[in-house]
């Protein structure tokens, strides 16, 4: 039985690595916003700005590492299953799984530490096709896009007497976005169009964060990241020539800001709320502002149950149980100018290993994006995030 389960899991893992007929919404702009906070936050409705957990590394607020006592590394894995429906009674399913980045933290001093990590920012993976004709000549037009942006982060934080912490992250944003555009005529005597556009993007940005603890049970956090212009080079390949054309362009990646507050209720747990705004209005692709892009404001509410840190306590009492909910509009409007809302309920677990030196975090999300009557498209979203967070005493805070 164990071998069968193992075989099944490995097969599913291999199969799902590059298997995604993603949402058509990812065709807009730079793709879907794929900047997930850590797995802990994904179990708490993506509440992360005012979270100062000592066992997980925040990918949202660089100031929130103030309670980490030892070095810590986290790796993330993400899987998603979506079910789509449109107003024409069409439906489809998709499956995607992949490595979701890593985080690494080193405490260099009692009030100072550095961290680095790799975080996916956007992801594009779609294919759109239309059957059309010119006169009696039928053809299929299709666009396939894939790729996305990632960020390699290097951050540091400084803490003043455990009630005020500042952090800043330098970000190197990079990634390819590829688009293949085809026109395939039914008549074989026609030349079939195939244009391949490959855009390599890169640029530097920063993100700043602050954590304030007016008293031990309350945490207030804020983050800010300015918009950044990414340079890019697009290479165009045509079907009618072996030579390629290149042009230099730019993308203005939008800035974001947000704030949150959390409160630790004794013997009950932690409750927190976040508000995060992305200024997608400022998105520019080669100096063109896509008319469909608009600002998104996400509200997240999360709860984590109180847990025992006593090694003698039962394992179930040592587990951290999480619940949450978030609500946000998608970065693109529908063709009628309506917002496409996404709502998600979340559930998560923090499973301690070896007196919480390490922790396995699991988050389950169920959500819905779009409304069939209002937007003409709806998606049911099932997500699982898995991470392993390991602490090591390579570096330890010196007080």
């Amino acid at each position: 039985m164990k071998k069968t389960v193992l075989f099944f899991l490995i097969s599913l893992f291999i199969y799902s690595q590059n298997h995604y007929c993603g949402s058509i919404l990812s065709s807009r702009g730079l793709g879907m916003n794929f900047e997930h906070p850590n797995t802990r936050a994904m179990g708490m409705g993506e509440f992360a700005i005012a979270d100062v957990d000592p066992y997980t590394i925040s990918r949202i607020n660089p100031a929130s590492q103030l309670f980490h006592q030892i070095s810590r590394i986290s790796i993330y894995y993400f899987t998603m299953y979506n079910h789509y429906q449109d107003q024409f009674n069409g439906s489809a399913n998709s499956q995607y799984s992949n490595f979701d980045g890593f985080s690494f933290f080193i405490p260099l001093h009692s009030n100072f530490g550095i961290a680095s990590g790799l975080t996916p920012l956007t992801r594009m993976d779609y294919k759109i096709s239309f059957d059309k004709s010119i006169g009696s000549y039928g053809y299929t037009k299709s666009i396939k896009g894939n790729g996305g942006l990632n960020s390699f982060d290097l951050s540091c934080h400084w803490t003043f007497k455990n009630f005020l912490s500042f952090g800043i992250t330098g970000r190197y944003i990079f990634g390819n976005i590829n688009t293949t555009w085809r026109i395939n005529y039914d008549d074989n005597s026609f030349i079939q169009t195939k244009n391949f556009f490959s855009t390599k993007n890169h640029g530097f940005n920063y993100k700043a964060g602050v954590i304030l603890k007016p008293f031990s049970s309350m945490t207030i956090g804020a983050v800010y990241s300015p918009k950044v212009t990414l340079d890019n080079k697009t290479t165009i390949s045509y079907v009618f020539t072996d030579s390629t054309k290149e042009y230099n362009g730019s993308i203005q990646y939008p800035g974001s800001y947000g704030f949150g507050i959390s409160y630790q209720i004794k013997k009950v747990g932690l409750i927190g709320i976040d508000y995060l705004i992305y200024n997608w209005n400022s998105l520019l692709i080669n100096d063109h502002n896509p008319s469909y892009a608009h600002n998104t404001n996400k509200i997240s509410i999360g709860f984590e149950s109180a847990y025992s840190i006593q090694p003698t306590a039962s394992y179930l009492k040592q587990i951290r149980y999480r619940l949450g909910y978030y609500h946000k509009p998608y970065l693109s409007l529908d063709p009628d100018g309506n917002e496409i809302y996404e709502s998600c309920i979340t559930f998560g677990l923090g499973l301690p290993i070896k007196r919480r030196i390490a922790e396995i975090n699991i988050a389950f999300n169920y959500g819905k994006r779009g409304d069939l009557n209002k937007n003409g498209l709806s998606e049911n979203i099932y997500r699982v995030s898995l991470s392993l967070s390991i602490g090591e005493k390579w570096f330890q805070r010196r007080f």
């Binding site: 039985m1 069968t4 389960v5 099944f8 599913l12 199969y15 298997h19 995604y20 007929c21 949402s23 058509i24 919404l25 065709s27 789509y84 449109d86 069409g90 489809a92 399913n93 998709s94 499956q95 779609y126 294919k127 759109i128 096709s129 239309f130 059957d131 059309k132 010119i134 006169g135 053809y139 037009k141 666009i143 396939k144 688009t179 555009w181 026109i183 005529y185 008549d187 005597s189 026609f190 030349i191 079939q192 169009t193 244009n195 556009f197 697009t234 165009i236 045509y238 079907v239 009618f240 020539t241 042009y247 362009g249 692709i285 080669n286 896509p290 529908d334 063709p335 003409g376 498209l377």
Partner: protein, 395 residues
Amino acid sequence: MNKNLLSKLILMTIFTVILITCAKYKKNPVGSEYFNENEMGDEKSCIIYPAPSDTFFKNKNIKTGISPFLSIGAVQKHNITAKSLIEFQFLPDTTQIDSAALTLYIHKFYGQNSGLFSCSIYKVTKDWDDDSLSAITYDQSYQGEYVKEFEVSLNDTIKSFSVSLPSALVQSWVDSTTAESNYGLLFIPNNTQFITEFYSSEADSNQPALEIYTATEPDTAGNVYPTNIVPPTNDIFIPEAEFEPTSDYLFISNGVSLRALMNFDVSQIPEQATINKAFLTVHSDTLAAFPDCQETFTVSIFEIANQNWTLPEVQIDSVTYSRIPINSDSSSADLTLSVQNWISKMKENNGLLLMGRNEYTNLSYRKLYSSTADTSKKPSLKIFYSIPPEENLNN
């Protein structure tokens, strides 16, 4: 049922369901109609007519000497005449020629398939060869002393005939003192109803032959065989035709070598477009075709290499060409590659040259409607093209 087996079945079922439901890149995925497809590239077609400067002209360098055929005859209805020159040199040194005959092998007829073939033979007055002589350089001065006239009744069952030549004339070609003035014979047609096409020395077989007989006794059966059979050293046909210039038509001719020029302004199509299909359609006057409209007349289309030319010296790009087989009043040729080269600036659009595919080898012509003809008859270039989505182009 075994518990383990049941578990395996359940797992396999789940895995199979996932495999089936998650086909990658399904055609027309959910939401295809959700977005404005016009934002996702543009596919168009257009019809472009030639600039009014289209014209036809006579090619200066007509190499009918390389043709495997010789034509002799005339068709008055179409104002076409064909003469031929045949030269026999380096004859074997023979003491005394008793008689000589020229045998010609028939390939086909133009105009009609039977009739009285009448021809006058003249001496040629000056030196020539296949390369130096053409319909352009030939003139009356080549026609020398009258030799003889002959008539042969021909029909499509007759494959060859022989005409006797004066033995003194052939003897003079052998004699070393007079051989230097041997420039061959000129055959000028007397009939005006049809043209007979013979095989030439360039043909693989059935070449013209000069049969030389010396004073030899017949064999026991009474047959006399030629002492020598000599192939021509040079032979060529000289086509002549008169076409009344008219702006409504473009003449394209084999033999007489009339060529047409036309130019299409494709600047309305953006540079980044892919040309899915481009075809040139021409319309011909089926009542004005020689020999007739039943026979396919193939037109070769070449791109003009540059703009630095004056008629009739037009330089062509011989690498890219297309062909139109004209066998009805409307015919088309694929020009996708040429139009793509023009649009994507890989080649200059200097226009097109249309010429008969068998320009040097036979006699035929077609009358195509020009840019000044009615819209339904004038040449047209229909282009299907596609332009990628604007957001992918840094315009």
